[in-house]
Every structure is written in C-alpha cells, then in structure tokens.
C-alpha cells in the first residue's frame, strides 16, 4: 500500500509533535472565534463534515483501506437519531448515542465482510454494501423515503443545555468534533495506531510478526464507522433533518474528496478539506449540477498533480508532519 507513503514519509523528521499542538491550538481558536463572524449553521455543517472526514481518514490514511461506502454510517446514524428524537421523544444525548451505536453495529457487519478482500475489491465491496443500505433507507417506512425525517426537535442536552439556541448548539457541535478529533489523534499515536501503520506499509510482514491484521483492521473500521455515525447524528440534530442525501453514494464520494483535497494521512488535512469543500458547495449551490462537475475536476486535479493535498504540501513546505 503505497497510497499515502509520500505524504507520510517526507516530513517524518522530528518526533516531538510540538508543532501539532500549535496547529491544534490555532484550529481551536479559529472555531471558537468563527461563529461571531461567519454564519453558525454553515460552520456547524463544516464541523460535522470535518469529523466525518477525519473518521474516514483514519481508515485510508492510517490503515490504507479505501472505503467507498462511508455515507452508510453517516446517513443511517442520522436517521436513527432523528427517529429517536422525533418519534420516540428521546433527549438529544440518547438520540445521538442511538444513532452512533447503529453506525457502530453497521460498521461491524460491513467491516467483517469487507476486510475479507483487499485493495480495489475492498472499495467495491464497501460501495456495494452501502448501496444496499441506501435502498433499505429508500424503502423502509420509518425513513419516509424521499421526504426524509423533517422537523426533528433538537431538545435540551442533559437537561441543561437548550439546543434550540444556535450558539449553544454550535459549541456542543464543536465539543463533539474536538472529542472525536482527539480520540482519532490519540488512536493514531498509540501502539495500536503504530500496528495499523505497519499493516498499511506491509501487511504480510505485520502478520509474520504475530499481529492478527484482520482484528486490527476490523477494530479500526468499526471506530471509523462509529465516529462517522457520531458526525451523522450530530448533523441530523443541527439541521433537524435526516434525508436520503446522506446515505447516497455521492456522499461517500464527497468524503473521499474532502480527505484527498486536505491530504490523505495527515492529522489536520480532513478538517481543511472539509471546510474547503463545504464552502465551495455553499457558493456553487445555485449552479445545480455544476457542483458535481467541479468536484470531479478537483478529483482529477488532486490525483494527477496534487496527491499530498493542501495540508500535506504545507507540511512538506515547513518540514513537519501536520
């Protein structure tokens, strides 16, 4: 798997990740200050997608597995959260847990099937199984088909935080994002993460050293699916909507695009990529299908000449891995 080798290899010089703390601090400051200057709903969308892209990057960047069906976790978690909050009347924290747990379970099943093949087949299998989830959501009565679940109540978090206030909702979303981000950061810098990277670089060798590669892959897959589900659950509460868009394959493509543009296998790349793609879509929204064309052009451009992505190139420029 040489997919992200060049971006991970070049700036591997210093082991002290001090500059990463600086970068993290800048990111936190940016997101704390941003809602006072930018439309908060837009920022919340960016944060949800940033978490989604970070979760996706955990698989492609650190295990070398390209999942082309991550929309399944985002979307189904959104549906379950919306259903729990609206129909069952559950409080937001329980609704989010329900959605996230659904994604985790789905990740366990799909992951167990998909890791039976490698490389290109893995991508096709995840895509096909996600399409199956899409058709399920299209037909199941509780998702309300094309209409989706609308007017989902945000509720009061833990009985204290009233999420109907936009700014409260914003900081809850920010906390969820940072929690997920730090969990991923911790994972990739743990011994577990080192084994994942070993599997990415040379799977037979990792196996010969006594690591059961399949267990590690599956665990990483479930973690990635769970965090994608967390992003989807939060998104459903933010927009008070769960719809078919979030389970469609184009959403799976979008998260690949965000991660690729930001930088595969970089810590901050998916966040940057998500912000860029979401802003782009915001500006291009009135142009209809041109959004797809622009996305396609970015894909082609990134693959042909910009494989390290924005953050990967930046990291190479300053000689540090970001």
């Amino acid at each position: 798997m040489a997919l992200v080798k060049d971006s991970a290899e070049a700036p591997a010089l210093p082991l002290t990740p001090q500059h990463q703390y600086v970068a993290f601090a800048i990111m936190v400051l940016f997101f704390v200050a941003a809602p006072f200057f930018v439309y908060p709903l837009f920022l919340m969308k960016a944060l949800c997608f940033a978490l989604f892209a970070c979760a996706f990057n955990l698989l492609i960047g650190y295990v070398g597995l390209l999942s082309f069906g991550h929309a399944a976790y985002l979307g189904s978690a959104g549906y379950l959260t919306a259903h729990a909050a609206k129909v069952w009347g559950w409080p937001p924290e329980l609704a989010i847990v329900t959605g996230t747990a659904t994604a985790a379970l789905l990740g366990l099943i799909i992951g167990a099937l998909a890791i039976r093949r490698q490389g290109i087949y893995f991508a096709m299998i995840t895509l096909a199984l996600a399409q199956m989830i899409y058709f399920f959501c299209l037909q199941a009565p509780f998702t309300h088909g094309e209409d989706g679940i609308q007017a989902v109540p945000r509720g009061v978090l833990l009985g204290v935080l009233d999420l109907r206030s936009t700014i409260t909702m914003y900081f809850v979303v920010l906390a969820v994002f940072l929690g997920g981000f730090l969990l991923i950061y911790r994972t990739i810098h743990s011994p577990f993460g080192q084994v994942l990277k070993a599997i990415r670089e040379n799977e037979p060798r990792a196996v010969s050293l006594g690591y059961t590669a399949d267990h590690y892959k599956l665990l990483a897959f479930v973690l990635s699916a769970t965090l994608s589900g967390l992003a989807g659950s939060t998104k459903a509460l933010v927009f008070q909507l769960a719809s078919l868009t979030d389970v469609h394959w184009s959403m799976s493509g979008e998260v690949v695009l965000m991660t690729l543009l930001g930088g595969l296998g970089t810590v901050f790349g998916p966040v940057v990529g998500a912000v860029i793609v979401v802003s782009l879509e915001n500006y291009l929204a009135q142009l209809g299908a041109w959004v797809t064309v622009v996305q396609g052009i970015i894909f082609v451009f990134c693959v042909l000449t910009f494989r390290r992505g924005v953050v990967g190139e930046l990291g190479r420029f300053i000689g540090r891995s970001l």
Partner: protein, 295 residues
C-alpha cells in the same frame, strides 16, 4: 391463464426476460471492467458514465447526422472507445506506477465530470430513442409475448460476450493479452509493444460499455444518470464472479440478471438489494469470488 406455483406465467416470463436483458448489460459491462483491470490494474469507475455516453452517442447520431440504430451500433463504440483512448493517453497512464486506488479515484472524478455536464445540458429525465423498424413487433410464443428487440439484445449480447471470450482465450492476440496480464515486463522484453496494448485494451473496454449503452437506449430512455447506479451493481457482479476469468464474468452477469428478475416477481421489495445480499454471501463462503483466485 396458465399458472406456475399459483402465479401467472405471463408475468413471470416477462420479469425473466427483463432479468435476461439486465443480465446481458451486466455481462458486457463486467466483461469490460475485467479486461481493463487485468491489464491496467485500474478499476474503471467511469464505466457507467461511458455506458451512458454510448447511449447518448446513438441519440446524437440520430439527431444531428440522421444515422439510425445500426450505424450507432457500429459508430458509437468506436467514437467512445477513441475518447477512452484519449483519457488513457493523457491521464490514466500517469498512474500506473502508483497505488491502484488512485486509478479508482481518477475515474470516479471523470465520471462525476461527464455525468454532471450531461445533467446540466439534458436534466435528469430521459430522452426517448425508438426501436429500429426492423425489430419492432414481437413473437407470441404461446406462454408469453416476446418483443423482437429484446430477443435481439439478448442474442447479440451473447454473441459479443462469446466473441470477446474467443478472442481473448483462443487467438494469438488474446494470448499476448493474457501473457501481458501475467507479466508485462517479460512480454515487453519479447518485443511486444505493451503500452500500446494497454491503450487499445482500455479503448476496447470502453467501447464495450458504449455498445451496451446503444443496446440499452431503446429499452431504457437515454438519460445522464442511467449508468450511475448501474456501475455499482456491476461492481457487485464483479466481486461475486471474481475478475480472474472471462467466462466467469459472462456467466455471473447473466445469472445475476435472471436472479434479479425472479426476485422482482416473487419478492419485489428485495429486487434492488438481492445482488448485494448475494455478494455478501459469496464473500462469506468464497471471498475470492465464484470464478476468481486470490492475488
């Protein structure tokens, strides 16, 4: 009305026929994917878009040049195949040294561009393309009504598939191709121009997709997104069959089409998902695919 297991045979055979038609498209498309993957090590995500381009080429030939179905059947695969060759020469060939997944991402991007452009121009609804006059009407077989055009699609698809199988498995040219799939460096050392072979192979695979598009145009309408969902099903077909064998792709394609048709009749709710369920089962029992081998 005659019945089998208490169901009307007319409707059953009708669905079986649609299943066979879909199966022909699955077979041709997965055949193209396998041939391309064998030599280029790239999964051609743009295959669905190229299938759509084939149908549109037929439509344009009729609208602009007044050339009918039979000309389209000949010209569309050539034109779209040349377009594929252009893509391979300018873009895909830069990726052979890289991980396979970049090929998937690039062709996915190309599919987005092509489908987006056509959607801008023609919207999401389909354009009608009429059945050629020689093939209108149908045959009453007693137990069902068989439209001539549909019979033609099945027979012609089988002919194309078996022809491809023959060329690859039984001719000198095919033996070069198979050898280059095994070991391109060695074949190149024997004085065969492997890069040109790769280019032509991609063009051929794309041409096959376009041919399926022309065949599909009179049955389904010509629409920008006709290949978008199709390609995902074809991926599942490829996973089920395994990409090791040409005959495997053909058999799997037709068989899954028939199974899908039967599901549509006996349990319509599952007709969209049945192929994916079968894929999951195959992965559990024989991960390499029914005709594939681990590599």
């Amino acid at each position: 009305m005659s019945t089998v297991f208490g169901v009307p045979t007319q409707a059953l055979f009708g669905q079986l026929l649609i299943g066979l038609i879909n199966g022909s498209f699955y077979a041709i498309l997965s055949l193209g994917l396998s041939v391309i993957f064998g030599l280029l090590n790239i999964i051609n995500f743009a295959h669905g878009a190229q299938y759509m381009l084939g149908a549109f080429a037929a439509y344009f030939l009729l609208q602009w040049a007044g050339l009918g179905y039979w000309w389209a059947l000949l010209l569309a695969p050539i034109v779209i195949g040349l377009f594929g060759i252009g893509l391979e020469r300018t873009m895909l060939k830069r990726l052979y040294e890289l991980d396979h997944l970049y090929g998937l991402l690039l062709t996915f991007g190309l599919a987005l561009i092509i489908q987006g452009l056509f959607r801008n121009e023609f919207g999401s609804s389909g354009l009608p393309y009429s059945i050629p006059s020689q093939l209108t009407g149908g045959l009453n077989l007693g137990f069902m009504f068989l439209p001539n055009y549909r019979a033609w699609v099945i027979v012609f698809s089988l002919f194309v598939c078996l022809g491809t199988w023959y060329v690859i498995e039984r001719t000198k040219l095919g033996s070069y191709l198979r050898a280059a799939t095994e070991n391109p460096v060695l074949v190149q050392a024997f004085g065969i121009n492997v890069p040109r072979m790769i280019t032509l192979t991609y063009g051929f695979g794309v041409g096959l997709a376009a041919l399926a598009g022309v065949l599909a145009a009179p049955i389904y309408q010509v629409s920008p997104l006709m290949g978008a969902d199709m390609i995902i099903v074809v991926f599942a077909v490829v996973v089920i069959g395994g990409m090791g064998s040409i005959m495997g792709s053909i058999v799997t394609g037709f068989a899954l089409g028939i199974i899908e048709g039967l599901t549509k009749f006996f349990y319509p709710e599952a007709s969209n998902t049945v192929i994916f369920v079968i894929m999951a089962l195959v992965l559990l029992i024989k991960p390499a695919g029914l005709f594939g081998r681990e590599r």
